[in-house]
Symmetry: C2
Subunit: 217 residues, 2 copies
DNA sequence: TCACGCGTTGCAGTGTATGAAAATCTGGAG
DNA sequence: CTCCAGATTTTCATACACTGCAACGCGTGA
């Protein structure tokens, strides 16, 4: 699948990108992100500052774009889930799988969390990027939902008066919210509970309709 | 209520800020946000570029920070709601009120929506700012639910292991999600349905636990 | 009116980001 | 081995974003 014969060129490109990203994270964790210049990152890797911008559209991207393909994997998983599975379960399942496999690059993500904790600007930017992903996830959900009830009405297209495409966007956004809140909570209580478990708990709350605080009712 | 006797200085300051914000929005809607320089905005208002940065920490803030006090009003409303009202209802009610009164500056918000539609960067930034608001809203919710059950630690979700403050954050985030999705949906289908109605619908979906695609309703 | 406080302005300097052309490298063809 | 074609990196130039500093001018209260 990902075993295309990587040319030397491609390998060097990926190495450079990874080196830039890691250097940025390391320097930011040490000195604070706002005091890390593009020049410093480039020097640490041994390339020119101009090259940095060949890999990242902005300085902050080096801090925020850790795994660019993650969103695509989730979308593919959602689309590939068996038709018997509800859209809600397909989305939560795909996200849970992704979060579970996140432990692999644990060192990098720990740095990432440390950097975000120290600079709210970057945290906001990261969340904003996640929201952009949500819009594409919503499109995937819409295709899935549309395919599931294609049997009866073939015209299909929106004439539903009130909410033709509200549900996919809402589900995607809610799922993103669950991920975000879970990660925040998880990083606040440094690893008391495994991330997937926290995520499942958040999804349970949401699926129950946010009934009420742990008090009665 | 908020009619403290504004000094001439204060009035001028607010006028300048509003003028800068409006000019920024108008220029961005016309030429695209990325082609609008600080100098252009300042010239349109008749102040120096340096003064612009006395009002906004960054150029993008002029596009995104339309109403800085909105979040504060929502927090106050949540805290002021009668104890008999559930936290969920208090939050949704406060947000619905805020959204209802949003029609007042409708022209400004229409410009805002147009700008965000054309530049995803700013949309991401806006969402990030909303998320920062959500954290403070979560704190307000935590105080509220904490006050309601003073001392009596009860069962409920406490058996999820470690979830002392997951619920407030989740509720705040879900509420923010409902607002965001509603506004997006509302601006996509330019005003077919009043925004508060869309918001109520989104909340209904969430309160029902995202059951499944809306097959008919 | 006068002086003080506060906001505004010009200026210098740092850092981000982009386009273009020159220099360098990679993967092959002859 | 040599040389070429395409891709990548670098150098150079330029525009814009943003910040501290010092001077200036207008509201504000005595």
């Amino acid at each position: 699948m990902t075993d295309a014969p990587l040319s030397l060129r491609e390998r060097k490109k990926r190495a450079t990108r990874a080196a830039l990203s890691e250097a940025a994270l390391r320097l930011a964790a040490e000195h604070g992100a706002e005091h890390v210049t593009v020049e410093a990152i480039s020097d640490a890797v041994g390339v020119s500052p101009r090259t940095f911008f060949n890999y990242f559209d902005s300085r902050d991207d080096a801090f925020t774009m850790i795994d660019a393909e993650s969103a695509q994997r989730v979308r593919d998983a959602v689309m590939a889930a068996p038709p018997a599975v509800s859209a809600l379960d397909a989305v939560t399942g795909a996200l849970a799988d992704e979060l579970a496999q996140l432990g692999a690059r644990q060192d990098v993500w720990a740095l990432h969390a440390e950097v975000l904790r120290r600079s709210p600007d970057l945290l906001a930017r990261t969340m904003g990027a996640h929201m952009a992903d949500e819009l594409e996830l919503a499109a995937a959900i819409a295709r899935r939902v549309g395919a599931r009830r294609d049997g009866a009405a073939r015209d299909g297209a929106a004439r539903d008066g009130a909410s033709p495409d509200l549900y996919p966007h809402l589900l995607a956004a809610a799922a993103g919210t669950a991920v975000r809140v879970s990660v925040e909570h998880w990083s606040r209580h440094a690893g008391e509970e495994p991330l997937p478990a926290v995520f499942r708990g958040a999804c349970a709350h949401l699926a129950a309709g946010l009934p009420d605080p742990p008090t009665g009712a």
